[in-house]
Subunit: 168 residues, 6 copies
């Protein structure tokens, strides 16, 4: 792990997003609430938050940090028969929080996979990206595609101030 002791403590946020493609049958069952192992989205949101806290135990060079917030949002998308998942992570520390957002995201996506796989083995997780990170020496960084994303309103409320700081 790199030495971070000389960096200042600032509020840092990171938002990661990714998509799991369910296919027509499984997406229909998700919408109808008829998947055999229960509601994948509620479970994915909890598993993602819990996994974000385990990031330093999973990613070898990640520093142990005290996450001040982690939240996962699952948004079914009927057009693509997929679920878009977002993970927002926040700390007040000397190091970034991207990996926590990404780890929470990937485990949330895999939790959906686990509950949907009895219906469709040919699932696919795609487009895992960091949408933005703020705080630290470099300040706000935005993924070029962030502006064209339609974020869920409950998530937008939480990141609005960060986005405004960045002049968008």
């Amino acid at each position: 792990m790199a030495d971070v002791s000389a960096k200042p403590e600032t509020v840092r946020k990171a938002l990661a997003a990714g998509t799991i493609i369910l296919g027509e049958k499984a997406f229909g069952m998700l919408q109808d609430g008829t998947l055999p192992k229960g509601d994948p989205l509620a479970m994915a949101e909890i598993a993602g938050v819990m996994a974000a806290k385990q990031t330093p135990a999973l990613i070898p060079l990640c520093h142990p940090i005290s996450l001040s917030r982690a939240a996962v949002y699952c948004v079914p998308n009927a057009d693509t028969q997929a679920v878009d998942v977002y993970c927002l992570a926040e700390i007040t520390e000397r190091t970034g929080v991207e990996m926590e957002a990404l780890t929470g995201l990937q485990i949330a996506l895999l939790t959906i996979w686990d509950l949907v796989k009895p219906v469709n083995a040919a699932l696919e997780i795609t487009s895992t990206r960091l949408l933005f990170k703020s705080g630290g020496k470099q300040g706000m960084w935005r993924h070029p595609e962030l502006d064209s994303k339609v974020l869920p309103p409950s998530l937008l409320d939480r990141i609005q101030d960060s986005l405004e700081e960045s002049g968008s």
Copy 2:
């Protein structure tokens, strides 16, 4: 967790694959060995194996199982400036091993991300899929795209017998 006590113990294998797109600059530094935090591929292979063992602690409904093998293979692809990652998992138990292969895969991909992100924040993980699973009641299942994949030889050696059983 579903009750699995009545299922027979059989050898079960699963192979998951996914890709992280590094972009031109970061891919060049990976090839030249000049990434600032060391060799991501060696570290990803270890982190992936260790994460596969943590699957039941991460995915809520996964059964605790005694993995008999887990291995991660990282294959740089100059055409796509990406790294293709594979995770093979194997058990002799009453339950499947897909989630172990997928969890090992995703943490391996994120470990690469962590070591490459100082050079490129706009990384992308894409095409995470299960390529095949064998064993259990349903026997061999192959992803439609498995045949068109060029698998790394050291991996092929290990799965050849499973593929042959399935008649391909």
Copy 3:
């Protein structure tokens, strides 16, 4: 840890139960779905299952085992303004599964506590007991009060065969 290698592998089940007393105000908010941090029962059921899997990491002399089933049931009780929680655990191994059922139960109860505590700090967890255990050398053991318990139907379905074996 005691040596268990000479014991035969049998199917073993254990059912633990306990109650968290919420009080009038918090119980009303639980029923109305207006608790500020979300639905405690869904979260408790997931956290309990995940904790049951961590039992050998928490209880010093518990053997590491491969749980074949764990499930948590939360039943609000308007008469007592409380939630009755049950945890059923099952294995096919050489050692008992009571501690897994009890650990899943206690963490489920604490998860409810965590989500209800903004409304009432004077919560109380009471009556944590083992209701029955089956399998192993001693066969079925029933708590004297099991018969007077009104168990949730979805739980009863799962344990009916064990209860019948025991002649009740």
Copy 4:
């Protein structure tokens, strides 16, 4: 997890208490030191401290925090043939420490259960409560029944200053 980044860091303490009823035979063996698996109280005190540190890994919405103190006290009570267990937790952070005290307490109680269960399967854990918490926006909160509790002297020494601050 809720956002806690705007809260001030203050010293926060929490004291949780609960009781495990052993019954006459098991309590006698505890007092005589003849329980077959060793001394449950020494083991419970260690297991409780270790579990308090695992709280954020067990309770989904608990923040990862840096406990500055955790201690477990086990007090046999011959009148009730029970063991009263206390867990004191302390941090200097932006979030409360009740769940750490309660988690340490419950795992300590379960550790006693595990060592006593060969003698009595019909154990019962009862009266798990938060006795007080201090620090944070709301300052000292005391359970109505704290005053009538006879706390162990070594514990009283540690919490005396907190109790005095609260005017009792």
Copy 5:
């Protein structure tokens, strides 16, 4: 991790031993029970057992296994002002158990270190060795120095049968 699915399940044992040199002052305080943080040996025996269970989470290529027994023995040695520590591990599986015995041993030794370090910072852990392993394809293996070791009687009782099998 290597593939072990073709190996037969046999009872396998391993015994590891090592020594921590305390020095005159600290050893005296250990004997008198006056070390400031409590009894290191009782705590080391518990921490060692718990760590043996965590071996597959710590050593990258260790298989997850279901330990059927783990025990730690701490034997103060006045001649050397040291504590000799032993860890015995046992499984009925397809893979060896040396690393579990060694991991339990090293964490037990470090737990003693942690409790003694306020008195002596210049501690030393030395002579960590595997004394024997039994079971598996190769049968009994004995360290050349095993015969000259004076093992604690409670440990000897537990390994006598293994030693006799090996013809000693």
Copy 6:
């Protein structure tokens, strides 16, 4: 765990060192890169860093801390047919970091053991010591034998400033 809330936060470093004796054959295979399970040193360096982060989960009375740096260095020594391993840990907190350095060290040494044991079962880990610790109330402490140690240059670069502060 002792109460540390009144201690000031300072930068604290600790360096631990130990040696694993491989013997002639295994040392030769390490140097030639012909060990059957891959390169032990790269794997040991990663496993050691990951284990340092798990210290509070392994050593009962260690406080949970936010390591700001952990690094493991493995140095083969042809004269002794051994590998000298060093673990440097650093935090900015209220408590020391010796146990993190020692835990990272011991797990790194055991990881080498795990990869070398197919070639030599009679391995030995010896001379585990704390070489120095800095920061905190007591400032710099140096092991008497630190001066006669030939430290690896990449490690020396990182600790030079600490050594100079101590007047050496």
